[in-house]
């Protein structure tokens, strides 16, 4: 599995309230939520983002609320992967459970610039900044999580294991 796209870059502690503000939580439709994704810190994001693009941020990405609407909004906006220095733990679980690929890599998070073209190989965890030519080794998922991702989410994984 691979992803390749243009980078949208953010800083530390991007919280779930800015990823998808609570005023839109009266909907749980991913495509509806995607229209407002990131609008409180990046008004143009929803119109600028293209399918396959990549989000890069620094530490503690997704902190705050447990709302699964946050990774869902990012996924439905077209983002193919989020790279961060670290993720908040509930966001981390939620992203895996709904099938939004995420990868921790402090060096890549720091060095990759907005607008760069980046590709990611999920099997090896290798992140390549095609613009600068530099490669980074991201943290690969433990085997247990790989099984959930391979099943395309927790619900399918449970179905497969209960058969």
């Amino acid at each position: 599995m691979k992803a390749c796209g243009t980078v949208h870059k953010y800083g530390d502690n991007v919280d779930t309230d800015v990823i998808i503000p609570a005023r839109y939580l009266n909907s749980s439709d991913g495509n509806e939520l995607a229209k407002y994704c990131m609008e409180d810190i990046d008004k143009e994001f929803a119109t600028r983002v293209k399918k396959g693009d990549i989000m890069v941020a620094n530490k503690n990405f997704g902190c705050g609320s447990s709302r699964e609407h946050a990774p869902l909004a990012i996924k439905c906006a077209g983002i193919s992967c989020v790279i961060a220095e670290t993720f908040a733990r509930i966001f981390y679980r939620n992203a895996i459970n709904i099938g939004l690929p995420i990868i921790e890599c402090p060096e890549a998070a720091k060095e990759i610039n907005a607008g760069d073209t980046v590709s990611i190989d999920f099997d090896s965890g290798v992140i390549t900044d095609e613009t600068t030519g530099k490669s980074y080794q991201g943290q690969a998922f433990p085997p247990f999580m790989q099984k959930i991702i391979k099943a395309e989410g927790l619900m399918n994984y449970i179905n497969e294991n209960n058969q």
Partner: protein
């Protein structure tokens, strides 16, 4: 090697003799919780499962508390979805408007969680029940849905930071001031993926309501859970509220901690977190002149009876400053009724505050107290992120009920001492 208190609870629920940090386990759940925002997503997800029946109708709690009483048509549809699911599956612990409260005040009050249990909730502040000596943590809707059907959840066993609380806090220093101080010290990711285990002789001076506030905000330091040892106060609380059998776990003496942080509670002062992160803390005495427009007292962090008593002590015989809106939310119907019986509500209304039915409303910018551009609020809630309570150009300052009430009287960030209290 010894285990932390959290690790012992997890080991027991995974059927293992021992566990160690980093290990992936599957644990049995004693309680699985969702609300009107996260519940519908979970219900939609579980429809994908082959197995449709819930694992135990008594071990699921569905609490429509966020956008209730229904704030608009879409919210009404979400509540209806949760209500119908609860009815279809005969969920014992579904709480309708009129009997509900803010989930993290309601579940302990109804005795649904006791020491030694494991709980997941599709709400980040599910970590509140650590105050009772239980393992409880927030998850997303899919995890919650899976837990509701299977009765199990997977966890990576966390390492821990040990907080040794010593000494007796001064007058007007509450659990809220303690946790704000801690978050200011370690940062909003200071306990990321880890447990916060509280211990020390200072705990004896903390009421259950103080402890609920502290555990509640463990998530604001990124923690998986925040847990207290079980003492006489915990046991008295559980015996008053629950018929469930509890189990007391204690950390092993040789338990390994990533770090140990000692805090002398007697040195702490009323504390406030400036926008836009809970880690931006200052003591009120360092805050300077910060004029405000609104005060919110309530939420899963600070809407309990002691919080209301504390606010009433400050507001008794005083009046909210002209032009300031003070909105008070008792966290549950039972707390609301008790506040009426104790005369607290009378004090609030005479002081010029409004009192609302229990709801999470303003805390997350849902309804019942939204801020306009440029407005500032002092709030006893738990997050002050950009746009959290309304317009992206509004500001939220997090504080204790005492500081919030004093600020309502003066119209700027203040502590009770400024009123001669």
């Amino acid at each position: 090697m010894g285990m932390t208190m959290t690790q012992k609870i997890l080991a027991a629920h995974a059927g293992l003799e021992s566990v160690s940090a980093g290990q992936l386990i599957e644990a049995d759940l004693d309680m699985v919780l969702a609300n009107d925002i996260t519940g519908p997503v979970a219900i939609h997800e579980v429809a994908k499962l082959n197995k449709k029946t819930v694992f135990d109708k008594d071990k699921i709690a569905l609490v429509p508390d966020h956008f209730t009483p229904n704030k608009d048509i879409k919210s009404a549809e979400h509540c209806k979805c949760v209500r119908e699911y609860a009815k279809e599956h005969d969920i014992t612990n579904y709480f309708e408007v009129g009997e509900m409260g803010i989930e993290h005040a309601l579940l302990p009050e109804k005795g649904l969680i006791v020491a030694g249990e494991t709980c997941i909730g599709a709400d980040s502040h599910t970590c509140t029940y650590g105050a009772l000596g239980a393992f409880s943590t927030g998850v997303g809707s899919t995890d919650m849905g899976a837990g509701m059907i299977t009765g199990k959840a997977w966890f990576k066993v966390p390492s821990a930071i040990k907080f040794v609380l010593t000494g007796k806090p001064n007058k007007w220093v509450s659990g809220k001031d303690i946790i704000l101080h801690i978050i200011g010290m370690i940062g909003v990711d200071g306990a990321l993926y880890r447990s916060m285990e509280f211990t020390g002789d200072g705990i004896q001076y903390l009421s259950m309501d103080d402890r609920f506030s502290i555990s509640n905000m463990a998530i604001e330091a990124g923690a998986k859970n925040g847990i207290f040892p079980v003492d006489e106060k915990t046991i008295a609380y559980m015996e008053e509220h629950s018929v469930k059998k509890y189990t007391v776990y204690e950390a092993d003496e040789d338990a390994e901690y990533d770090e140990t942080i000692t805090i002398d509670l007697s040195k702490l002062e009323p504390t406030v977190a400036f926008p836009h992160l809970p880690e931006n803390t200052k003591t009120v005495s360092e805050a300077g002149e910060v004029k405000i427009d609104q005060v919110v007292i309530g939420s899963c962090t600070n809407g309990r009876i002691e919080d209301l008593r504390c606010a009433a002590k400050v507001l008794e015989g005083r009046h909210i400053a002209k032009g300031i809106r003070c909105i008070i939310f008792p966290a549950t119907q039972s707390i609301y009724l008790q506040a009426i019986e104790e005369g607290l509500i009378q004090t609030f209304i005479k002081a010029g505050a409004v009192v609302s039915t229990p709801t999470c409303g303003p805390c997350l910018g849902g309804h019942m107290g939204i801020l306009a551009a440029g407005e500032r609020a002092v709030s006893t809630t738990n997050r002050n992120f950009v746009g959290r309570m309304g317009h992206i150009d509004s500001e939220v300052y997090l504080a204790s009920p005492a500081v919030a009430a004093a600020s309502a009287v003066t119209g700027k960030i203040s502590e009770p001492a400024e009123l001669g209290l």
